[in-house]
Symmetry: C2
Subunit: 361 residues, 2 copies
């Protein structure tokens, strides 16, 4: 038993599982950023036709899951489990999405680490033989997060330079025991047409993160709080698998932002990883989602939807098109609550890693 565990924190998959569908949705501002070509759905109104932001976020999550399902070629009835979470209290976006989808549902809370948490759990449940197909996903919305974690946006509060901009975005993937029918695949970038050299993508392994608390108490320094957790998971992943960082074409953290990304790079180099390898492979979704100067996002992007949309859009599409073969992706979460800083607590971080690889199957 436990024959799929390697090292201390890593699980290895042998029979797939495969990513047979994925989709990304993004808000107005995100759709004007450097990654705009990779989003399947671009909102021109962040209310998305709803009368509250929370309902808009829940609808984003539902729509992106349904689109990922459609792109997988599967029917809703063939989905065994939905796994998702978000930043809202009582994961309101996910709970109401699951009510509408009417499928077996397991709710998660990993703050912004939720996308890889759901993907890793979905992969284990599929590989373990408990499901044929699972939809995984995560969402966030600037306006729901601002009023819950900071101030109502109507206040027009100024944000300090280190604070991050919660992405209005969501991503979803369909994890399956079988490979997909590649003749049906459209790459987001290539105007939806099917792709001559499309690649199947399998989940190779994953590393479950530990909660790491570096003692940061400034709630406007989320990147600094999460970077040590991200690096801890990366180093444990490399140790468990016996791989070097240059095994991967790309290594992405979730939403450390500009400051956290710089700290993570320093910590990786301090741990003995070649600086050139780090510089050429490593990036952070929170540093990729917006144009730093023009879009005025202070410390960069954050939120569950940041890494969820980048992984489900940009990364999967580039892998599908054969531009990337091996990707190490980590969503990164700050596990503070709205009251824990007021009780004198520092900000614990967590990061879960998943390895995606193209395969010839």
């Amino acid at each position: 038993m436990a024959e799929k565990k390697i090292g201390n924190q890593t699980v290895k998959f042998e029979n797939g599982p495969y990513i047979i569908g994925s989709a990304a949705i993004a808000g107005e501002k995100e759709s004007e950023g450097p990654l705009k070509e990779w989003f399947d759905i671009k909102l021109d109104d962040d209310m998305f036709g709803e009368d509250t932001w929370e309902k808009a976020e829940s609808k984003m999550l539902k729509e992106v899951m349904l689109l990922a399902l459609q792109k997988s070629g599967k029917q809703k009835e063939s989905i065994d489990i939905v796994l998702s979470g978000d930043l809202l209290n009582q994961i309101m976006s996910s709970s109401f999405m699951a009510r509408d989808l009417k499928l077996p549902f397991l709710g998660l809370y990993g703050a912004c680490s939720t996308m890889t948490e759901s993907l890793l759990l979905g992969s284990m449940l599929t590989e373990g033989g408990f499901a044929h197909n699972i939809i995984v996903g995560a969402s966030s919305h600037f306006c729901t997060a601002e009023r819950q974690f900071r101030m109502p946006i109507e206040h027009g509060n100024q944000k300090p330079p280190s604070s991050q901009w919660t992405a209005t975005a969501a991503g979803a993937m369909v994890v399956s025991e079988t490979v997909m029918d590649l003749s049906k695949v459209g790459i987001a970038k290539s105007n939806g047409s099917s792709c001559g050299k499309c690649q199947n993508i399998k989940v190779d392994c994953g590393t479950i993160g530990k909660v790491i608390d570096a003692g940061i108490k400034d709630v406007n320094q989320m990147g600094s709080a999460m970077a040590p957790a991200a690096v801890d998971t990366i180093l444990n992943h490399l140790q468990d698998t016996g791989r070097n960082l240059d095994y991967y074409d790309i290594v992405l953290t979730g939403d450390l932002g500009y400051i956290g990304k710089a700290i993570a790079k320093d910590l990786l180099v301090d741990a003995g990883i070649d600086k050139q390898v780090v510089d050429s492979r490593y990036d952070d979704c929170g540093a990729m989602l917006f144009y730093r100067e023009e879009q005025k996002v202070q410390g960069g992007a954050s939120g569950c939807g940041c890494s969820a949309s980048v992984f489900s859009g940009h990364v999967i599409s580039r892998m599908r098109a054969g531009e990337l073969r091996r990707a190490l992706i980590l969503s990164t979460g700050a596990l503070l609550s709205t009251i824990s800083p007021m009780q004198g607590e520092s900000i614990p971080g967590i990061a879960h890693a998943v390895v995606l690889e193209t395969c010839d199957k």
Copy 2:
């Protein structure tokens, strides 16, 4: 593949997994109720030596997990994953517990359905070969829940007769691929001495719930909101497994309370299950935890810790002692958020079922 799935929502286990340790902790009021003899730790102060209620709840969860671990005879280093959740925003109790335990952690949110959600996920990950040993658990605290979901308790607000009393309680179990060494077992009731005829307990199967919304909009009618979800999961479980309800010695829902329990019984009988079988097998933890008249708990008990402590204490101990052979347990959650009712939403419910059986191994 997916050879462990039966029917639409149920997963079946063949190689265990086993419950090799469990523990329950309860607050002052809960420790004066009918189930007091089954709690391992009884608080005489619900602050538990901390300076905030939230820190007290987190400490309860940590202590009950460490006690379950100790009772399992395992070392902390042999635990691969911790799975837990609670009712607090950003699952503060679980996140800070996980920071202190320093073990790989996957956070869950299922409202009061969390205990069986964690147990079911932990069983799948163990049976799937991804872990040797997993600690699962859930917690709640009257004072943290009151101020988050209702009013600060200092207000002294009156509660309507249908409102439920959030339990100050937590429970944890150690799920393992191997059976436990029964010579080390002490039953909570029997003053900790080892037990001559102790039984091993295996997880036989589990049914993942769907979100069911019966349209209830009164936040003081949680039992009514959750009862249809509980019954939906029970009926799907029976259909998937081909069993009748009298296959089980005991069938317990999580925290429907007095009103929800009565509705669940009616719905089960309406669905064609013999009333005598329902009357003799079925009960609800929320109706069991307190003395209804003397303890003035209005609609009964609720909270993640209600079913977590009853399952981890009362049920496991009675099974260990051979008094119960087959138990169908369901934690039941109301997936509303603190703002969803103000946005006109009704209250969605969910329930996950797990079957525990004694075995001669």
